[in-house]
Symmetry: C2
Subunit: 145 residues, 2 copies
DNA sequence: CACAAACAAATTGTATACAATCTAATCGTA
DNA sequence: TACGATTAGATTGTATACAATTTGTTTGTG
C-alpha cells in the first residue's frame, strides 16, 4: 500500500525524531536547571564561558548555533543575574566582550552533577551514545556547508 | 588535564549536538516551507492529518510531542488558512475534532518533494540514517518513561 | 583622504514551546 | 443521583529562535 505520498509519512522523516528528541531532552533538563535558576540556553552559554572565560558575542553565538537576535537578550539576562559581564572592546567598538564573573564561576559547582542526572535518563549503551554523538555531528557538519 | 568539570564541557554533552542539529535542520526546511506558506510545526501537524484525516487536539499533540498551549494557536492559524477545520464533538463537548479540508489536501501535492530536498542536504549513508533514526527513537522512548 | 562595503550588535516582528492556571464537560462512586 | 476527581482545551506569562532591518564602527580601495 505504498503511494506517492509515502515520503510524507511522519514515520519516514528523520527530521521529526530529531526535533522531538531534542525538545524532550531539553525538557528533562528543566527541573535540574530550575534549581539553579537557568534556562537551557543560558546553561549552554555558561558551558562555553566556564571553559573559555571570555569571548565576543559573535564567537559565542557561533559555538552554540545562535544569532545575535537570540544572544543579545539572553546575555542581558545573564548579566542582570550577575553571572557575566558585557563590555565594548576599546580596540574595536563593534565587539562586545562577554566574560564570566566570580558569581558565574560559583555556579559551575552547582551545575557539575547535571550531565550525569540527564545521562541516566537517556539510558543508551556507551557505544550507542558515541554513535549517536558521531552521527549528530556529521549531520551538523553537512548542514553547515 | 581532566578535572572535576570535565562533564560540563560542551563537547561532552550529547544533548548539545541533538539540540543544535534539530535547530539547524528545521532551519533548512524554511525556504521550502516558505514556498507553501507553512512553518515547520504547521508542516508536521499536516503530515499527521494528511495520513489520518481527522483527530482530536490531544491525540494530535501526542503524535508530535506538543501540548495544548502550543497546539491551540497553531491549529487556529491552520484553520484561518483554510487547511483544517475545528469542531467540538457532540458526544463529548470537551473534545475538539481537527479535520483536513479539501484545500489542505491540495497542499499535499506541493509538499511531496520536500523530504527529498532535505535528505539531500543531510547526506548520510542510508545505513547511517537508519541507525540515527533508531537511536533517536530509542532516546525518545527512554525519555518518556 | 573619502566613502562604499563589510562587520558586530541591537532591534523588530512573528512563531513557537511549555509550565501553570482556568473553564467547562464528563466520569466514578459512595 | 450528587459531587469530587478527572479530562480536554484554552489562556496567560515567560523564554526562546530567527529573518530582516537598523545603527554604529572599521576596513579596503580608488
Amino acid at each position: 500500500m505504498s503511494n506517492k505520498y509515502e515520503s510524507l509519512k511522519l514515520e519516514n522523516q528523520l527530521c521529526f525524531p530529531l526535533y522531538a528528541a531534542a525538545k524532550e531532552i531539553v525538557r528533562k533538563y528543566k527541573p535540574f536547571l530550575d534549581e539553579i535558576d537557568l534556562t537551557y540556553t543560558q546553561y549552554i552559554t555558561l558551558l562555553v564561558l566556564w571553559e573559555k572565560k571570555e569571548m565576543n558575542v559573535k564567537a559565542l553565538g557561533e559555538c552554540i548555533y545562535l544569532d545575535s537576535g537570540t544572544m543579545t537578550p539572553l546575555l542581558k539576562k545573564l548579566e542582570s543575574k550577575g553571572y557575566i559581564e558585557r563590555k565594548r572592546m576599546p580596540n574595536d567598538e563593534r565587539n562586545v566582550l562577554i566574560s564570566i564573573t566570580a558569581q558565574g564561576e560559583e555556579l559551575r559547582d552547582k551545575a557539575v552533577d547535571i550531565p550525569n542526572k540527564i545521562g541516566s535518563c537517556v539510558k543508551l549503551e556507551p557505544s550507542e551514545a558515541m554513535e549517536l554523538y558521531r552521527l549528530l555531528y556529521k549531520v551538523l557538519g553537512n548542514i553547515e556547508s
